[in-house]
């Protein structure tokens, strides 16, 4: 892509999110969200492949619908309550609509159907941006409306997302769809705790972004998008395959890796709020996701796939890609659990 165009698009992505972060008026927040959508559309379609075009169209339609719903809800609130302030949204219909709209924007169940297909149509870098950066602006809004939302709605969204994310990923062999379902499951965990402690939502989002970045960046280095090609990656980068295995277990939420931290803190908060049944259901749904992460661990590192003789000793050339971000995110994905107290003070 033309470097000037690329620069404009990336800067627009930054602009959109920053606008939403900085705004206290619903219209400005909506504008930021729309700028984000517009900026990423050319990035998604840059491959000129029918699948990429289809993914772009689906993304545009769903995000536009969601943005229109946000506009509608905020207008409705302004008309009935007379307030355009983001955290003053109080009319029950408006809050429900805006929650559902933001859920559609990020891909919470039952509004998650677009996410696997869209993510599948993108290359890994754009997929990374979609899974991480594009979640920031909607979450800024979600955090701001957290006090006024319908508790039953949030709990339903959360539990359903965790279950859908777990069950949906079980049948996938394409890694991007698998990561989409993993995304949905993690979003479920983030939403369920929103009504009790929004700081934990933000912490979970941060750690989720770290772990997902690790996965996307490692897949990019190994240039694999299917389980089959991931399985043959061990001769090329043995260390990275081991680290991927550990990152997958971290995504699954196993102690003593970082991924356990948000789950632990969320379960603790749910227990404090006297919701042991919800906590147990969420915890058990994590087992579903863990199954397909474990299957990925098996195919990547713990077994040797059938391959021809010369693929087991390829030339290990130095990678031409920048590996510093991956280094940082891998270390954060694996080693942050002992410093949990320090991290909880930051949120």
């Amino acid at each position: 892509m033309n470097p000037y165009v690329l620069t404009t698009l990336i800067l627009s992505l930054g602009l959109g999110t920053t606008l939403t972060f900085a705004s206290s008026h619903w219209l400005l927040a909506w504008m930021g969200l729309e700028i984000n959508t517009m900026a990423i559309i050319p990035l998604m379609a840059q491959q000129h492949h029918p699948r990429a075009t289809e993914a772009t169209t689906k993304y545009f339609l769903t995000q536009a619908t969601a943005a229109a719903m946000i506009l509608f809800a905020s207008t409705m609130n302004a008309w009935t309550m007379g307030d355009w302030n983001i955290n003053q949204i109080s009319h029950p219909l408006a809050t429900t609509t805006v929650t559902l709209a933001l859920a559609l924007k990020i891909g919470l169940a039952p509004m998650h159907f677009w996410l696997p297909e869209v993510l599948q149509g993108l290359n890994l870098t754009t997929g990374l941006v979609l899974s991480t950066w594009q979640k920031l602006a909607p979450f800024a809004l979600i955090l701001q409306i957290s006090q006024n939302t319908n508790p039953a709605l949030l709990t339903t969204l959360g539990v359903m997302s965790a279950l859908v994310g777990g069950w949906g990923g079980l049948n996938q062999t394409q890694l991007r769809k698998l990561l989409a379902y993993s995304s949905i499951a993690h979003l479920g965990w983030m939403i369920i705790i929103l009504q009790f402690m929004p700081a934990l939502t933000l912490l979970n989002l941060t750690i989720y972004i770290t772990m997902t970045s690790t996965m996307f960046l490692s897949l990019k280095i190994m240039a694999s998008t299917k389980i089959n090609s991931l399985a043959l990656a061990w001769p090329k980068t043995p260390t990275l395959t081991t680290l991927i295995m550990l990152s997958l277990l971290s995504l699954g939420g196993l102690p003593p890796l970082t991924g356990f931290m948000p789950k632990w803190l969320i379960l603790q908060e749910l227990a404090k709020q006297d919701l042991p049944i919800t906590a147990t259901i969420m915890a058990m749904s994590a087992l579903l996701s863990l199954f397909f992460y474990l299957r990925l661990c098996y195919t990547t590192t713990l077994t040797t796939f059938p391959n021809t003789n010369n693929t087991t000793s390829p030339w290990r050339l130095k990678s031409t890609q920048i590996t510093l971000p991956l280094t940082i995110t891998i270390i954060l994905t694996l080693m942050l659990l002992p410093v949990t107290p320090a991290i909880t003070t930051m949120f």
Partner: protein, 460 residues
């Protein structure tokens, strides 16, 4: 505690920086030094029972025997793995040893933890190295299934435990074992409290394992390589027993009624798994089911919550740990020579490997609880306390003892006695390393006959 933890963690740089030909020697020597250092924990200095305490870790007469067992087992695991790992590239050998060391570190931190949540995190943390050992270095395709069963059975039990512990922390304000042992028994009557009780215990019952939830164990033990089987049988099962003993302190008085179905399952499991042992064709599977049988007895002993029950449980855990690990090492000596676990293929070995037959003999005698070995001490204490709880239990425990004797004798006679088939006469003679391994397993068992106070420190 740090005197042991830091040398154990430092074993990891040792493994990676030692030159190739010295790796196994150095790691064995260093882990043996740590094991000998851990024996200092056996001196209980304080009245309250908790000694060597730091902010988050301490040892008391319940955890000390298990800690010493854990530390003792690491050099044995390294010794046992030396042969089957040696064909691999050196970095993979180093990774294998690193996994064993990491597992050791988590186990020491688990047994030494004073906060129950720390115990929980270390309990779960042991799952990952064990999973990697089973699925990466196991030998058959079934190892993947074994790893999945292992991970999911344990997690399905331990996630409710996490929720139950967090609920407890909300109600009691703390989860420190030092404080919980002094809290008043709570008045718990509702259905929710009963489910909380089950949540607290389920993880440990799955880990022990209790008979109904034991399906992961034969798979995991059989598919694991020798170090994996050793650590699983000797220590990881005892994590379940130890956890149960710690948790039941705060579960009174619910346990009096609610424990009934689990005690029944445990007792029934002794007979059922013992009977299965009599029909096994796979040697490691036989030893695995024998582990389930013994741990059923331990579970029964813990659930009735009497001093003799606890004492018997801890003695049986230590003795069974050493003996079961010894049996797995013996089965491994067969496996390394024939690459088969089938009992029928490795028969009549007394003619070919007579010295190993001695070890088979002693290990099987210990397994069937011959007096005066500590296995009998533990079993007798548990059987007596179960009898005082209800005389009818003598039916299952007595029958269980009989069946245990039956399959132990069966194992010995099948592998050692009888005609030697012609395909086994060219087996390699026993290595000194293997004799050393067996000696280091069984001599502590014999020595514990002389000073069992080291084990039953909880209720002197």
């Amino acid at each position: 505690m740090l005197k042991i933890l830091i040398p154990t963690l430092m074993l990891i740089p040792t493994t990676w920086l030692t030159p190739k030909s010295w790796v196994w020697t150095t790691t064995t020597a260093q882990s043996l030094a740590i094991a000998l250092l851990s024996l200092t924990w056996l001196k209980w200095t304080s009245e309250t029972g908790w000694s060597t305490s730091g902010p988050y870790m301490a040892t008391d007469p319940l955890s000390t025997p298990l800690l010493v067992l854990t530390c003792w087992l690491l050099p044995l695991m390294i010794l046992a793995s030396q042969n089957h790992i040696s064909p691999e590239p050196i970095n993979r050998q180093r990774s294998y040893i690193t996994l064993l060391i990491l597992l050791q570190t988590f186990l020491i931190m688990a047994f030494g933890a004073t906060e129950i949540i720390m115990f929980y995190i270390m309990f779960e943390a042991t799952l990952i190295p064990t999973l990697i050992i089973i699925t990466r270095w196991g030998n058959q395709t079934e190892r993947l299934n074994a790893g999945t069963y292992f991970l999911f059975y344990t997690l399905a039990g331990s996630l409710p435990l996490l929720v139950a512990l967090l609920m407890t922390q909300k109600d009691m304000g703390t989860l420190s074992m030092l404080i919980i042992q002094h809290t008043k028994p709570t008045n718990l009557l509702s259905w929710g409290d009963k489910i909380w009780w089950v949540g607290c215990l389920l993880a440990f019952l799955v880990k022990m394992p209790l008979y109904g939830v034991h399906l992961w164990l034969p798979k995991a033990h059989v598919e694991a390589p020798i170090a994996g089987s050793m650590v699983l049988a000797a220590v990881l099962l005892k994590l379940g027993g130890y956890g149960m003993m710690r948790i039941t302190i705060m579960l009174d008085p619910l346990t009096k009624e609610l424990a009934y179905p689990f005690i029944i399952l445990a007792l029934w499991g002794i007979i059922m798994t013992g009977s299965i042992c009599l029909r096994q064709t796979d040697l490691k599977s036989l030893i695995a089911y024998s582990s389930v049988s013994h741990m059923g007895l331990v579970a029964g002993g813990i659930l009735i919550q009497t001093p003799w029950g606890f004492t018997g449980a801890i003695i049986l855990m230590i003795a069974h740990g050493l003996v079961s690990s010894a049996l797995f090492c013996l089965a491994n000596t067969n496996y390394e020579r024939t690459h088969s676990r089938t009992l029928l293929l490795t028969r009549g070995l007394q003619m070919i490997l007579p010295l190993m037959a001695t070890w088979w003999f002693i290990a099987n005698l210990a397994n069937l609880a011959l007096p005066p070995l500590p296995n009998l001490m533990g079993e007798l204490a548990i059987i007596t306390s179960l009898f005082s709880w209800s005389p009818w239990t003598i039916v299952s425990t007595g029958l269980g003892t009989l069946i245990t004797a039956g399959y132990s004798l069966y194992m010995f006679l099948m592998t050692q006695r009888g005609p030697t088939p012609l395909h086994t006469i060219s087996l390699h003679p026993s290595h000194t390393r293997e004799h050393l391994l067996m000696a280091m397993h069984l001599i502590p068992v014999l020595l514990l006959v002389l000073k069992p106070e080291l084990m039953w420190g909880v209720c002197h």
